[in-house]
Amino acid sequence: MQIYLPIAEVSVNAFMLLGLGGMVGVLSGMFGVGGGFLMTPLLFFIGIPPAVAVATEANQIVASSFSGVLAHWRRKTVDIRMGMVLQVGGLIGAALGVLVFNFLKSMGQVDLLIRLSYVVFLGIVGSLMFVESLGALRRSRAAAGPRKPVRRQRNWVHTWPLKMRFRTSGLYISVIPPILVGMAVGVLAAIMGVGGGFIMVPAMIYILGMPTKVVVGTSLFQIILVTAFTTMLHATTNHTVDMALAVLLLVGGVVGAQIGTQIGTKLKAEQLRVLLAALVLLVCGKLAGDLLLEPTELYSIGTSGGHG
C-alpha cells in the first residue's frame, strides 16, 4: 500500500515503514537505545530526504522510548533521579551541540564530520563493550553458579564532591560525572540527530557503574526528554517533521519496543551487552565502508534553500 508523505513529498510503502519501525522498536526495548542510529540511515536508504528523516526520527523515538520506559517503570528499573541529573547535562549539551552544528555547517563538510564522529564513536564504544562483555560472559560461564561480582572499583568518579544518593542504581556518587556524561551525549545527539542511547548506555555502565538492568530504563527515560526537545526544535525551525511518516514508524515502533523489552528481560545482562556491542560494530562497519569504498555515484544532489 503506497502512501504519499506530506512533508517528505515522496510516496512509500506503508507496510515497509511499519516493518522498519517494528524492527528498530524491538532493538530499542531490548537495549535502551532510541534506535535513531539505525533508523536514520535506513530512512535515507528508502529515499526520505535527510532533513525530514532526522527530524521525524526524533519524533518516533519519543514514542518507542515512552512505550519502552513504561514497561521498565512497572518493574521499577528506572532511576528517575539519575535520569533528571543526566537530563540537566543533556539540555546544556544539546544547546552546545546546536551551536557546534551551525558552526560546522558554515564551514561546509558537516556531513563528513557527522559520519566520522559516528564511525569513531561507534567503533570505540562497540569494541570496548564487546571485549568487556565477552570477558564477563566467559567468566560467568566458567564460574559454577552465580558468583557474586567483585565489588565495583572505586574509580575517580567516586572521589568527586557534591555526592548524591541514587537509590535505584544503588550508587552514592558525585553529580558532576552524570552531568558531564549527559552533556557529552547531548552534544552528540544534537549533531548526529539521534537520542544518543548507544553512547549513554555504555557510559552509564562503565563510567557511572550503574547496574545494567537499571541502565536501559533510565536511558530510555532520558532519551524521551532529549528527543522531545529536538522534535520541537526541528518542527519550529525547519518544518521537517513528517507527521504521517512518524505515525507509521511509531505504530511499528511502540509494538516492537514492547516485544523488545520482553526479550530483554529473558536475556542475561552480559548477553545483552554482547549483542548491543555487535550491533554497534555492525553499523560502524557499514558507515566506515561508505567512507572508504569508492561510491558508484560520485555526485549527490542537495536541495538548497526553502524547505525540503
Binding site: 503506497q2 506530506p6 519519543v62 514514542a63 517533521v241 511502540v254 561510491p295 555515484e297 542537495g302 524547505h307
Partner: protein, 254 residues
C-alpha cells in the same frame, strides 16, 4: 475526448491564418490532486495541427515537454582525500525543474536543430539553466550531467523518443506518467511543432499539482502553526507509546 478533439479541429478551422500552420492542444486534466494514497498519475496531452498553406505539405514532428516547478539545487562531487571519500567540489544550479519529461515523434537529434533547441530550451540540459554555476568549479557540465543522471535514475527526468503518436497528418497525442515523488506546484506543458528541424508553432498549457485533504492540512499546519504541529506530533507519539504499553499489558494480563 473525441468530442474535445472535434472541438479543437473546428476551433482550428475557424482560426485566423497568420502563419502557415496553427496548433492547438489540451491536457486530459488541468489539475492533479495529491492525496494520501497518491501513487503517481498519468495525463494525456493531445492536439491538432492545421496547415493554412495551399498544396501538399511536408510531414512534421511534435515535441512535448512537461516541466515541474523550478528549484535551486546544489550538486556535490566526492573525491578521495586521505583515503576516505568526501565531498570536495560543489556547484549550485540556480533553477532546475523538479520534474522534466520530453516526448517526441522521433529521435531528438534527427528532428531538432541545436539552434532551435538552445532557443527554446527543449532538451533536458538546456531546460536546466546552469547560468549560476560557481566560478571555482572546473567542470560545470559534469555537474549538470550528474544532476540529469541522478534524476533520470529516480524517474523525475524522462525522455520518451517516439512517445508522441501522430494520427493522420493532423492529430497527435502522448501519455505522460507523473511519478509518485513529484512535488506540488504549477507544471508547464509545452508543445512544439517541428518542420525542417525548426520550431514552426508552439503551444503552452499549465497543469496544477496540489496536495488535498489530509495532506494539505498537515502540510499547512506544519508550515504555519509550527509550534502547535510539533506539540501535536509529540502528543501522538506519547499517546501511541502509552497505548501500546497498555495494550500489551492487557494482553498479558488476560
Amino acid at each position: 475526448m473525441i468530442r474535445w478533439i472535434a472541438t479543437l479541429v473546428i476551433a482550428l478551422s475557424t482560426a485566423n491564418a497568420a502563419q502557415a500552420q496553427q496548433m492547438v492542444a489540451d491536457l486530459s486534466q488541468s489539475r492533479v490532486s495529491i492525496t494520501a494514497s497518491f501513487a503517481g498519475s498519468h495525463i494525456l496531452v493531445f492536439g491538432a495541427v492545421r496547415e493554412t498553406a495551399v498544396g501538399p505539405q511536408e510531414p512534421f514532428d511534435v515535441i512535448i515537454t512537461v516541466s515541474g516547478p523550478l528549484q535551486p539545487v546544489t550538486v556535490r562531487k566526492k573525491d578521495r582525500v586521505a583515503g576516505i571519500w568526501v565531498n570536495t567540489e560543489e556547484a549550485r544550479i540556480d533553477a532546475a525543474p523538479t520534474f522534466y519529461n520530453i516526448s517526441t515523434t522521433g529521435p531528438m537529434a534527427d528532428i531538432l536543430s541545436e539552434t532551435a533547441d538552445l532557443r527554446h530550451s527543449i532538451s533536458t540540459p538546456n531546460a536546466i539553466r546552469a547560468v549560476g554555476l560557481t566560478e571555482d568549479v572546473s567542470e560545470a557540465d559534469a555537474f549538470t550531467e550528474a544532476l540529469i543522471r541522478i534524476r533520470r535514475a529516480d524517474g523525475t527526468y524522462t525522455e520518451d523518443e517516439g512517445g508522441v503518436t501522430l494520427i493522420g497528418q493532423t492529430l497527435f497525442r502522448t501519455d505522460i506518467e507523473l511519478p509518485s515523488n513529484i512535488v506540488e506546484g504549477t507544471y508547464l506543458a509545452r508543445i512544439f511543432m517541428i518542420r525542417d528541424q525548426r520550431v514552426v508553432a508552439t503551444f503552452t498549457d499549465v497543469l496544477g499539482v496540489q496536495k488535498v485533504g489530509l495532506e494539505r492540512w498537515i502540510y499547512t499546519l506544519a508550515q504555519e502553526q509550527a509550534a502547535l504541529y510539533g506539540l501535536l506530533s509529540l502528543t501522538i507519539a506519547i499517546a501511541a507509546g502509552w497505548g501500546a504499553s497498555a495494550t500489551f499489558r492487557y494482553i498479558r494480563g488476560s
